[in-house]
């Protein structure tokens, strides 16, 4: 097992290197930050000064080598726009994205798996049809539209939730992990916990619709396949109730593809959700990196891509490892 994990991690290194090089080359080809920084004040002289300051005129391999050397020594560089260390900005953004993504994944799993199970168990009935139409709507609904509808109806019209942000005005909370709900729990501030959860619900709901729909659809098809197996017929023949057949005998065996989808969706959600973060004023990774792309803030984009790539590698590894737990026939020894 340990050997397998080590081998996978070593194999990830060339992938990460490739990702950083491609990003670097592509960003270098699409422009430099001086014009984005200078705007109407653009002059050739000022632009040259900016390029000299950030040593942008060096050949690509030299710039990339310099960048890689710095990253290996733990320095992600400074943002060209804010001039702050990228690592410091990353530490601020990642917890916000983590909190929102985890909440969305939990919601997606809590809604998607039961919906898929019910649809499969009631295959070809009105319930199945309703569940799959719900999933279709979930996967087709534009997130920005849903987000604005949630704000308009539930926050603005009904007043049930705050419209935006992570915490109310004047609410004090010490920063421990950067995940406000967790920080509130750890510091025992129940009012802040309630407030943070209250702020988290609408963006998490908006963000969870697409993954929930994916999870529901994949759960349904996996369950249908398993429910058609001989051992399920045997279980039924033994007189087990349908509920026991589904929960004890079918579900665990159907989970393999579901876990894969959940893993992939978690990776996507952790990469930041630009629209949801923008509309709900959620200060996460997605908005940070996209803003950096528009201003050609190469160090920030590089750091973002590196984090996203690492996350995907790690999540894929965890998903693979979970197979062994879900299916004893799979072994990594």
């Amino acid at each position: 097992m340990f050997g397998y994990v080590l081998r996978r991690l070593l194999l990830a290194l060339p992938a990460l290197l490739g990702v950083t090089f491609l990003t670097y080359a592509l960003l270098g080809a699409t422009g430099d930050p001086c014009a984005a920084l200078l705007g109407e004040r653009y002059t050739t002289e000022r632009c040259d000064a900016v390029r000299a300051r950030y040593r942008l005129d060096d050949p690509l391999p030299i710039k990339y080598g310099r960048y890689l050397g710095a990253v290996l020594s733990g320095d992600l560089g400074d943002s060209v726009v804010s001039k702050r260390p990228v690592a410091e900005e990353l530490r601020e953004k990642f917890p916000a994205t983590m909190e929102l993504a985890l909440a969305a994944v939990v919601l997606a799993v809590l809604v998607g798996i039961p919906l898929g199970i019910v649809a499969a168990a009631r295959h070809n009935t009105a319930i199945d049809l309703a569940a799959m139409i719900t999933a279709l709507i979930g996967v087709s609904m534009p997130v920005f539209w849903l987000a604005l509808m949630l704000i308009y109806f539930l926050a603005f019209k009904a007043g049930l939730f705050p419209t935006t942000g992570r915490l109310s005005s004047g609410m004090e909370l010490p920063t421990i992990t950067g995940l406000y709900t967790l920080d509130a729990l750890l510091s025992g501030r129940w009012e802040a916990l309630r407030d943070a959860v209250h702020h988290l619900i609408l963006p998490a709901v908006a963000l969870s619709t697409i993954p929930a729909a994916f999870v529901a659809r994949i759960t349904r098809s996996a369950m249908l396949e398993v429910l058609g197996q001989d051992y399920i017929r045997t279980a039924r023949a033994k007189g087990l109730t349908e509920s026991v057949v589904v929960r004890r005998h079918a579900l665990k065996n159907a989970l393999l593809p579901v876990v894969t989808v959940i893993g992939l969706q978690t990776g996507f959600l952790l990469s930041g959700a630009v629209l949801t973060e923008t509309i709900f004023a959620w200060p996460g990774m997605g908005r940070w990196v996209v803003t950096a792309i528009t201003s050609n803030d190469i160090p920030v984009v590089q750091a973002g891509v590196l984090v996203f790539a690492t996350l995907f590698v790690m999540i894929n590894l965890l998903v693979d490892l979970s197979y062994a737990w879900l299916d004893p026939r799979i072994s990594f020894e």
Binding site: R46, E88, I133, I137, L150, A158, P162, M171, P283
Partner: protein
């Protein structure tokens, strides 16, 4: 239809489910009331507020990049730093004129090369250290000298370079210093002398700019390069009416009233600048009572706000111009008749149709609120017959190319919210005269701006937002030949579109008497109107929204300052 109705029923179910959650939530105790717990409802109901009359919550689209004003160029940073820092002079509230701030008086030598400022007594920085002549000198040295230990290596104090024209040691092709600034020295603890190498009339205007507010030397030295960032041991220490209480990056900056402030104490104890990037979300947060005020309003939300009794609209006076420019290095735009033909062919009423009632037609290359604006200038009338007459006269001696290269910004600018539509509108007007234009909108940063600055265009759309409330900042910016947008030598080097105009503008910038300067700029505006190096199109006024229970805001063309604001 089925899909819509199912979606609607699902939304209704979600409302019920989430409502249940809200109903099950525990009641608040003595903590500040989160907005969601208030009895909010439709906008027709009772006005709500953020629940605390001593806390003003202002929404804006992006967080401050930094709270060190010397090192920022973005309006969102300055929105916050205006409340924290002060300079030697400041803008009279609601105007672009300047008055005493940390300097109580000043004298200039006859040649305008030595300025002596008397400093205000009894002023302290937010870290408790005294504001005195040494602190002023330290700040000037930090801005001017790139080798200063607190200039922090590759930090770029851009506005110093823009307004003071260079750093210590920078020289032009003739080995003359680029900057007109020579030195700052402390005459005694409350007197500072600034020495210049050439007269610069906009000096007092420049010194009032938000970028030249003084930081506590002790605080900057203690925080090092983390000064002005959320990670700094001291985030910011100026002398202004508010000090930083808390900064949650990309969420909010909370300012707290500075009790030892030398001037009138601000009305509200705390101001919270809350970041909400999406315009619609920001408006809904305001309408919901979570914000007391906001800037950067979406055009469609101005209409909503107008019909909402709980919200008031404040239009800030315009401090910008959007224009159509000619490259006089390119035939036939060196011919004034061709330029006049275009000036008479642009329908400015049509142009204003692209705005949400927040813009006015421009007759000059600087906004009407700025001194030096010439009230007697009448706009070129929209008259296609007259345009045709000018064009015919032009084409007797010049040749119109088959295709005029027309650079239209590919990105929104504040003064041009719909650049593509504006370009097409003008293209159609010119096509009516038989002038065939080819719109070019290449990538803004890497191609568009360099091309226009190097004169690779025939005609173009661009604009400018004012920095320091001085006409020089508009007119010389355009017409003193800094780049090849309006005229050039064909090799990318800039020329003024007219040497007499350039001379007049440079003369005006060197005068120290304000009345004389005003007369010169009025004359320059008349000259520009006659020379037609460009067709001024619009001045756009930025709207602000406030809840109806907010009073006392003074609209200003140059700064959004909330110190006078109260909540009922």
């Amino acid at each position: 239809m089925t899909r819509i109705s199912r979606a609607a029923s699902r939304l209704a179910l979600s409302v019920a489910a989430l409502g249940l959650f809200a109903a099950c939530s525990p009641e608040p105790t003595d903590a500040p009331v989160p907005p969601a717990q208030m009895e909010t409802g439709s906008i027709e109901e009772e006005p709500e507020d953020t629940g605390d009359k001593d806390r003003l919550v202002f929404g804006h689209p992006a967080d401050a990049a930094k709270l060190d004003p010397a090192d920022v160029t973005d309006g969102e940073s300055l929105l916050v730093t205006w409340h924290i820092y002060e300079g030697l002079t400041r803008y009279v509230r609601g105007s672009t004129e300047v008055e005493e701030a940390l300097a109580t008086s000043w004298d200039a030598s006859e040649d305008g090369l030595e300025w002596t400022f008397t400093l205000r007594d009894g002023v302290t920085f937010h870290d408790g250290t005294a504001f005195d002549a040494d602190a002023v000198v330290w700040n000037f040295n930090r801005w001017f000298d790139a080798e200063h230990p607190q200039h922090f290596g590759d930090w770029d104090f851009s506005y110093w370079e823009y307004m003071f024209q260079g750093y210590a040691g920078d020289v032009d092709d003739d080995e003359n210093p680029k900057s007109f600034f020579v030195s700052a020295e402390a005459v005694d603890s409350s007197t500072v002398k600034l020495t210049l190498n050439r007269a610069s009339a906009p000096l007092l205007q420049n010194l009032a700019m938000g970028n030249f507010g003084f930081s506590s030397p002790a605080a900057v030295e203690a925080a090092g390069s983390a000064y002005g960032t959320p990670g700094g041991s001291i985030i910011a220490a100026g002398t202004g009416p508010y000090m930083v209480e808390e900064w949650r990056k990309d969420e909010q900056v909370t300012l707290l009233r500075y009790d030892d402030y030398w001037g009138d104490a601000p009305a509200t104890e705390r101001i919270e600048f809350r970041v909400i990037p999406d315009g619609t979300s920001r408006y809904l947060a305001l309408a919901n009572g979570e914000l007391d005020g906001m800037n950067q309003v979406n055009p469609e939300d101005i209409e909503q706000a107008d019909s909402n009794d709980d919200v008031q609209i404040v239009m800030e006076p315009a401090n910008n111009v959007g224009y159509f420019g000619f490259n006089q290095a390119s035939e036939p735009w060196d011919n004034i008749d061709c330029r006049l033909a275009v000036a008479h062919a642009i329908d400015k009423e049509g142009v204003l149709g692209l705005y949400a009632g927040d813009a006015e037609a421009a007759t000059q290359m600087m906004p009407p609120g700025l001194w030096g604006y010439n009230d007697s200038i009448e706009d070129y009338p929209y008259d296609l017959d007259q345009a045709q007459t000018y064009l015919d006269a032009c084409l007797e001696t010049s040749t119109m190319p088959d295709e005029v290269v027309f650079y239209v910004p590919p990105v929104q600018r504040f003064y041009f919210p719909k650049p593509k539509e504006l370009g097409e509108l003008i293209q159609a007007s010119l096509a009516g005269l038989g002038i065939n234009t080819a719109i070019r909108s290449p990538e803004w940063g890497t191609v568009w701006l360099p091309d226009v600055r190097e004169g690779k265009h025939d005609v173009f759309l661009l604009g400018w937002g004012g920095d320091n409330g001085d006409p020089d900042n508009f007119l010389c910016q355009f017409f003193c030949g800094g780049d090849a947008s309006f005229n050039g030598d064909g090799e990318g080097n800039g020329l003024s579109p007219d040497p007499d105009l350039e001379a007049l503008l440079k003369e005006a910038a060197a005068l120290s008497d304000q009345d004389e300067r005003m007369a010169k700029y009025e004359e320059a505006n008349q000259m520009i109107h006659e020379l037609v190096p460009s067709v001024p199109l619009v001045h756009r006024s930025p709207p602000l929204l406030f809840r109806s229970n907010v009073n006392g805001y003074v609209a200003s063309p140059i700064q959004t300052v909330l110190t006078s604001v109260t909540k009922e």
